[in-house]
């Protein structure tokens, strides 16, 4: 079931990389041009950030009550995004205040239970490790214009990027907010200038490609981070996602992630691991994006034993566990292993890449990049399963940990079989070796992106990248770094298969089934009471033996009588 990829890089990749090194020298972002958009034709662009060809917008959400092309304010000319935003806000006069309260703008989240300050602004992850100090690159996915360093003004509504969510032409795109080093600048293809009046006049409710332009590419590439969100969902078929099926329900993301005042339902920081709130008909409940908010907590038809038995699972098993039988099913691979220890290898003084993985849709994926190290991918593979109560805890930059307790959980969660709030959930686990502060036993901020001397993606010097990352954020750094094993856990909730492809009973109710690793509770089919079974079988065997002995005695007695 698992497609664990070999970390070793074969001769094909080396040859390819060598060829690349010869043919493509480092080029600046502004001057880089690429003739082919596909990774196969141009392996260096496999980051896919904003490189999607112009797409036909997905699902239409019905006619609007306003034809934006007729608004005078939107006729232009516009000098750029903020100009358009000003025009939007001149009518939508609450939208700016609303957006600035959302996590799409603040990148901040305070866990109400733990008080932990989270959000992309703060967190350390085990992909590119941190956004802080790398905003020039990372904040491409911030719903705003021009966040490249600490000077960004979070109070200026003009900097809100309305179009990234609301453009319906499929032609809007974003570039990094600042120039990177030559080593990574090659990944951006130049595109034609944006036709601002055209995109401004075509606004509508977000389609899948709007949300996907960021959420499909988290962690540095298509499908890298989540395993259940990638570009294959832009045009999903029934088997990939029964809700997003182009020929079926054709849901936009916002059908489930309903919004109120620009706040979208659904959070990975505090999840509804078990929703007993019901469907709230008529209309839908706001503020939740659970399966139950539409399907209720008895989703299977109660007209058969099968339906009743399946509904009997709802309190203990998340819908996703059975209905998402495998992750990364759309032909796009997802990363499950990342090894920063091997980053920084050079050929002829230059960074290089190796593309040893051909994913389901035929595209090549890098298994090694000098700027990032080694990757391991998986596709169409079984998730891991765990009891989950919805509470996520994070190891942040301020957490001191015991290096002996590796792997360090970048995020961890609670939940147990005897906790009524917890259910069995599917997860994708990402396993990483990444730099840490060996003296203080903390995670580190690395300065990766930038065209300065200190950026790792240019100088391949972890020591300097960490020292800069920590200093510019006012975090203590001992000056000594090492590598530490970490893991992160991503609850799987998208790519919902149709019922006929859901897991069969025997997938879990079996010896060595999918839930073999979850102990501490009785589950039929696993042979969970070995002692009882041994005693029972022994009793039956002894009885059989006794009968055989008795038969023997009877035969002997009969012979003696004769």
């Amino acid at each position: 079931m698992f497609h664990w990829l070999n970390l070793t890089r074969g001769p094909v990749g080396i040859a390819l990389a060598a060829l690349l090194a010869l043919s493509a020298g480092p080029v600046g972002a502004e001057t880089q041009s690429s003739s082919a958009g596909t990774a196969a034709g141009h392996p260096d662009v496999d980051m896919h950030f904003r490189l999607n060809p112009t797409t036909v917008p997905t699902e239409s959400r019905g006619p609007s009550t306003a034809d934006h092309s007729r608004f005078e304010e939107l006729q232009g000319p516009f000098t750029g995004g903020p100009d358009v935003t000003r025009a939007c806000l001149s009518c939508h006069n609450e939208a700016g205040h609303q957006v600035m309260k959302t996590i799409h703008w603040t990148w901040e989240y305070t866990n109400p239970e733990t008080g932990q300050k989270l959000g992309k602004k703060t967190l350390v992850n085990n992909f590119c490790t941190n956004a802080r100090g790398n905003e020039g690159m990372c904040a491409q996915c911030h719903a705003g214009y021009g966040w490249k360093d600490e000077s960004f003004d979070f109070g200026n509504a003009d900097n809100i990027d309305c179009l990234v969510c609301h453009d319906r032409t499929g032609t809007y795109y974003r570039m990094p907010n600042s120039r990177g080093n030559d080593a990574c600048a090659v990944m951006f293809e130049d595109k034609g200038p944006i036709d601002w009046p055209a995109v401004a006049q075509s606004v509508g409710l977000p389609g899948r490609e709007n949300c996907g332009s960021c959420h499909f590419y988290g962690g540095g590439g298509d499908g890298v981070k989540h395993g259940d969100l990638d570009s294959s969902l832009i045009h999903a078929d029934r088997s990939l996602d029964v809700h997003m099926d182009d020929k079926g329900a054709d849901f936009a993301c916002t059908v489930c992630h309903v919004s109120s005042e620009h706040q979208l339902a659904g959070s990975r920081y505090q999840m509804h691991a078990r929703d007993t709130g019901g469907t709230g008909r008529p209309g839908l409940r706001r503020g939740v994006a659970t399966c139950e908010s539409c399907h209720g907590d008895a989703p299977h038809p109660m007209d058969s034993l099968r339906g009743m038995k399946l509904n009997g699972h709802v309190d203990r098993v998340a819908c996703q566990t059975c209905h998402i039988p495998a992750i990364a099913r759309g032909g796009v691979a997802t990363i499950v292993g990342w090894d920063w220890r091997t980053a920084g290898r050079l050929r002829n003084g230059e960074g290089y890449k190796e593309h040893d993985y051909i994913q389901g849709n035929g595209e090549e994926r890098a298994t090694y990049k000098s700027i990032k190290g080694d990757f391991t991918y998986t596709e169409n593979s079984a998730p891991e399963y765990a009891w989950f109560d919805g509470r996520m805890r994070y190891t942040t930059i301020d957490t001191h940990f015991d290096p002996a307790a590796q792997p360090i959980p970048i995020n961890s969660f609670s939940g147990a079989s005897d906790d009524p709030a917890a259910r069995i959930w599917p997860f994708k686990r990402v396993h990483t070796f990444q730099p840490y502060d060996k003296g203080n036993n903390t995670l580190v901020y690395m300065h990766l992106w930038g065209d300065d001397e200190d950026a790792y993606w240019g100088n391949y010097d972890f020591g300097r990248a960490i020292a800069t990352g920590m200093e510019s954020n006012g975090k203590p750094y001992s000056g000594k770094y090492g590598f530490i094993e970490t893991e992160s856990w991503w609850p799987i909730t998208h790519m919902v298969a149709p019922a006929e492809n859901a897991l069969g009973c025997g997938e879990c109710h079996a010896r060595e089934g999918r839930l073999a690793s979850l102990a501490g509770f009785y589950m039929p089919g696993r042979g969970d009471t070995p002692t009882l079974d041994r005693i029972g079988l022994l009793a039956l065997a002894l009885a059989a033996l006794g009968m055989a002995g008795h038969v023997l005695l009877r035969l002997l007695a009969a012979r003696r009588r004769r």
Binding site: P420, G525, M547
Partner: protein, 221 residues
């Protein structure tokens, strides 16, 4: 005393016995599959068969209890110590020495005292245990709906499985004892045909001949 072939197992009793046997065999086979002891049948198939067979057995039992009460045949299960030691002695020694079985079925008493005691124990302890735990297991979702039913479910499952082992043990002994004190087929036949050679008092014989047409074969079996 005269010996006659008398129908001591009525049509309903035979139907009850054999359909019960089939259902219990199905329940044991599928139950041990659900428990995880073997994988000879798919888990969901096992669940459906097990549940279906259990519901079937419930219905059968309701009929059987009704029948036992209305016909008075429940008296066959009344425990008695009368002759029990002779029977016990026979099972321990007599059968080894080739002695004849000391018990002769009577029309009003078709089980020997040990048999009656064993069946009574089965019906008073093992069957209630497996029924109570089985119904609790089946309705798990109703009483454990708020979660946290781990310990209780484990207990239910353990007791249910233990009772199942005990019932299988009983069945093994039950079948084995058919070979003791006569021929296996000779013991089985009455459960198929209903007729067995039984000693009757002249009064009983006259009664049966007069009032229970078809329950007695005039010429003997």
């Amino acid at each position: 005393m005269i010996t006659r072939a008398v129908r001591i197992f009525s049509r309903f009793e035979r139907f009850w016995h054999w359909s019960q046997m089939a259902l219990i065999a199905t329940l044991a086979f599928t139950g041990f599959a659900i428990h995880g002891l073997h994988g000879l049948v798919a888990f969901d198939t096992a669940v459906y068969l097990h549940t279906g067979a259990a519901l079937g057995l419930v219905v059968l039992w309701l009929f059987a209890i009704f029948w036992h009460l209305t016909t008075g045949t429940w008296r066959h299960y009344l425990p008695t110590t009368k002759g029990i030691w002779r029977i016990a002695r026979y099972y321990a020694w007599g059968n080894l020495r080739g002695e004849p079985h000391p018990y002769r079925k009577a029309w009003r008493r078709k089980h020997n005292p040990l048999q009656a005691l064993a069946y009574l124990a089965l019906k008073l302890f093992l069957f209630p245990l497996i029924w109570v735990t089985g119904i609790a297991y089946l309705t798990y979702d109703l009483w454990a709906a708020t979660g946290g039913g781990n310990g209780a479910l484990t207990l239910v499952a353990v007791l249910h499985t233990a009772a199942a082992f005990a019932i299988v043990l009983f069945v093994m002994l039950h079948v084995y004892l058919l070979t003791v004190g006569g021929h296996f087929l000779g013991h089985v036949a009455p459960m198929v045909t209903g007729f067995e050679e039984v000693e009757l008092t002249p009064v009983e014989a006259a009664y049966l001949e007069e009032s229970e047409g078809g329950a007695i074969r005039r010429e003997g079996g």
